[in-house]
Symmetry: C2
Subunit: 533 residues, 2 copies
């Protein structure tokens, strides 16, 4: 089939209508220059996805409509499929416009609206209804669908194909989780075979709060064979001749893929929110180590600032490990002992705590002294604090609210502890040298908030804990079901209870990159007040 | 019409299936003893509303179904309408069961599922479909509908009435906002007139995280005339003879209503989460003063603990005002100067800040010293910290993250500053004596974080600020529209920008009672990363 398509895999910023328009026009011009018949952008390309409650502002909807008109007026013979919000009598549709020869030549309304997991589309949109028909572009009949539409085997692509569509263009705002690219390609290949037509799948790329969009746009032929693929996690303009195919970038998987998701999510959260630099409390532990590695790859070593904050309970090896890491990464590091503030609080609280021997309270005070220092540096120098907690800790509440949980972005909050270890080993393997000091990987984890403290005094070993958390948090099993699956009943009851009662703390933690099928955040909306055991 | 109905306005705890069942059975027995033909409970009476993502756990759904069967098996000739989750082949329905003579005699599935504002019902439920028909109870034909069903003029009550229903029972989980009771009664009266049948409206009562359910259950006759009403904000079992009527409790309005909403929300959040006592930083300002008043009414004076935390910039009158308030309320108060910790941080940061003259940073450090003290008292004594910020501050980010925003519950977070003043005056009027010291009401607001600081050095007067915030935050107007409405362009641009860039801070603040039509929290889901200006 003589048809040349460009897959415009762009990185919009939600709400930045002017900047998104400029980028779309630039990609359009490049595609047109390469003789394309059509260029396809992502879902809601001009607003960025997901615009959330900006959609409740009628003026915002009008402004993005104006941006669409400006885009359309710049088009020529090369057609463009652009995502936008279509307003009809006060009702909104998640829509795609076919723009060609200076105008909007056709509009499609998304039929299937996801309203699960991180998606809330029914909050904003009505589903499209009525007859489905392909559009004529450069002598071919083109069917347009949007994201979720394609995930149903009897979605609108079926009626479009039956109505004569020779090609399906599917535009997406499809957020990443591990191995999602593989799922998408398999699903779309199956759809192509079922309707015997090629499908062009275009996804946006970039970080947006909790979500990272991985891109990975691609095209398959009528047999479901892959004929072009954009890289993951970067902008791309891939040109595909539907007969001859295009370039197929290699896929990523496992640790490579996870690590790149963290890097892009971190970079975009910082830069899109106006931050160039970050500050990280370096404890010499595995979590802050991984955060520093990701930050350096995201922002550059000169933009990452480390702080070691020893207390009376810190071991020398922790400080040594933090300094070794900083040296390996080429980032600056300073030491600020928390002892003066800790001593001050002990004095200030002496009267209130008379006759008591506070234990956990003093541990929390130390952690909050560190949070204070990080925030003071953040306030004074404009550095965003990167939070270092992982998903295992966040799940069971093994952190101090307003202490180690302070910060703007918690980049590893969706990684269970064992995955943190995996990625640290991956950092060294990838670099071909020791970046993460070996001692950081082999020593037993400790918060160092009292003498000789180790995580395994408070928690079961992570080899036991992480699988229970995966079942309880990510797979919505109950304690009873997890016990029935063979886990230790006392451990399961204790851990699931810890997860439940930590909900109030988790609510006050920063966002971070979602990389699993169910992250803490808008993906998991459990009540704080919750009597279910 | 000879038909006696009981309106069981109960206060369930979300997820506490056993406790909710026991309370429902108790109300059932009392209604049966009073010769009722039918007793109606609230929406999802056995799970509590809203159960949120507990519904994603199949085991939870099975457990609440078992609770329904236990309830049904205890019924006799008196029928009961009970809210529950009906699972059919893996699909969930927000349902009502008609229980009578020991079994579930009929089931209704909610037709209209709210998925706006604080509601996410499409995330969990499918809407009911198929024929609508009334049930026969004690010789009368009863139509059952659920909450949102009634808000549409052509909702299922129309078909039910056409199908012969003589009475409509509408069960609700309808959260409070100011004057919602008046809206509900007017709407239901209109529905009754339109179908010429009496309607019984039953609502749950109690606090659940951000929401407070105000109860205010009532019945109207076929002319829409009110024939019975339960009080707002308390549990009640109101018995109504549909011919003779029942007792009509007085309505509340304005400050009375708002204040009771805050009291109930605070009491339930504390008690349902296992806290008896709270601690409040008392600055002598208007916000912490109102919070202390509400806390005393919610929990009792002996459960409320005040802390004055002066710094080098605190005025003596602030401390005097805090002590006068504590004395008027009969609560304990202690003074802990933050000076030692503040001095310690200045020393610890001396090297890092060399050659600089930090301003705002030192203000934030002071605020966080106070947060540290409150959290240490909370950790050691098990007192929940009540956060004292109001909606105006929360909107423009005029608070210190991890400082004055720390705490478990932010009870006045949905009150604009001018409303805080109104309610403080109301506290004195209601008591008929000075509880809020006059000086607290008349002095200019100040954070006292630098010499002679006043709020109006950083913000426009609240008389100018609050109306702009109401338009921008609660009514989704854009800056341009607010300027067009006659507000000062520079002020509007500055304020709306402050609201936008404070989103990351608000995300890390505690929940609090929603009392407006749009509160911060799950009611307003704007992106943090947001390029729209």
């Amino acid at each position: 089939m003589q048809f040349r398509v460009a897959l415009a895999q762009l990185n919009p910023t939600v709400g930045a209508l002017d900047a998104n328009l400029v980028a779309a026009l630039d990609a359009y011009r490049r595609a047109a220059e390469q003789g394309c018949d059509l260029v396809a952008f992502g879902e809601l390309s001009l607003t960025g996805y997901p615009p959330e409650d900006l959609l409740l502002k009628p003026r915002f909807v009008a402004d993005q409509r104006a941006a669409l008109e400006r885009f359309a007026s710049a088009t020529g013979a090369c057609a463009a499929v652009v995502g936008f919000v279509d307003e009809r009598g006060g009702v909104l549709f998640n829509a795609a416009a076919l723009c060609v020869d200076g105008e909007v030549a056709g509009t499609y309304h998304k039929r299937l609206l996801p309203n699960y997991a991180v998606f809330d589309e029914v909050r904003y949109f009505e589903p499209g209804t009525g007859e489905l028909a392909p559009f004529e572009v450069a002598g071919h009949r083109i069917g347009i669908t949007i994201c979720e539409d394609m995930w149903s085997a009897d979605g609108p692509h079926v009626a479009l194909a039956a109505g004569g569509a020779e090609i399906i263009i599917n535009i997406n705002g499809s957020p990443y989780h591990l191995d999602k690219d593989v799922e998408r390609e398999a699903m779309v290949a199956e759809r192509a075979r079922s309707i015997k037509a090629p499908i062009v799948y275009v996804n946006q790329v970039g970080g947006q709060d909790e979500l990272v969009f991985d891109g990975g746009s691609f095209a398959v032929d009528a047999n479901g064979a892959l004929i072009a693929r954009s890289p993951l996690f970067v902008e791309d303009l891939r040109v595909v001749d539907l007969t001859a195919g295009g370039e197929i970038d290699p896929a990523l998987s496992g640790d490579d893929e996870l690590y790149e998701a963290l890097v892009l999510g971190t970079r975009d959260y910082c830069h899109k929110n106006g931050f160039t630099d970050v500050v990280i409390g370096l404890s010499g532990g595995i979590d802050s180590t991984l955060v520093a590695c990701v930050a350096v790859d995201a922002l550059g070593a000169e933009h990452v600032h480390g702080v070691a904050m020893p207390s009376r309970y810190s071991s020398q090896h922790s400080i040594d490990d933090a300094y070794a890491l900083a040296s390996n990464l080429g980032i600056d590091i300073r030491t600020i002992s928390i002892e003066p503030a800790f001593a001050a609080y002990m004095e200030m609280l002496e009267t209130s705590f008379e006759g008591r021997t506070p234990g956990l309270t003093w541990e929390n005070v130390q952690s909050r002294c560190r949070g204070q220092i990080l925030m003071a540096l953040s306030n004074e120098f404009g550095w965003m604090v990167l939070t270092t907690g992982n998903k295992s800790e966040l799940a069971v509440g093994y952190f101090t609210i307003y202490g180690d949980s302070v910060g703007g972005y918690a980049i590893i909050k969706d990684l269970l502890k064992l995955t943190v270890y995996d990625l640290c080993r991956h950092v060294n393997a990838r670099a071909g040298r020791e970046i993460v000091p070996e001692n950081v990987i082999v020593k037993p984890p400790s918060a160092e908030l009292r003498p000789d403290q180790r995580d395994d005094q408070s928690l079961p070993p992570y080899e036991e804990l992480d699988p229970i958390l995966a079942l309880y948090v990510e797979q919505d099993r109950t304690a009873t079901e997890i016990i029935d699956a063979g886990h230790d009943p006392d451990v399961v009851r204790r851990i699931t209870r810890l997860v439940d009662i930590a909900e109030y703390k988790r609510r006050q933690t920063p966002p971070g990159v979602r990389v699993s099928r169910k992250a803490f955040g808008k993906d998991r909306r459990v009540p704080i007040t919750n009597g279910y055991r």
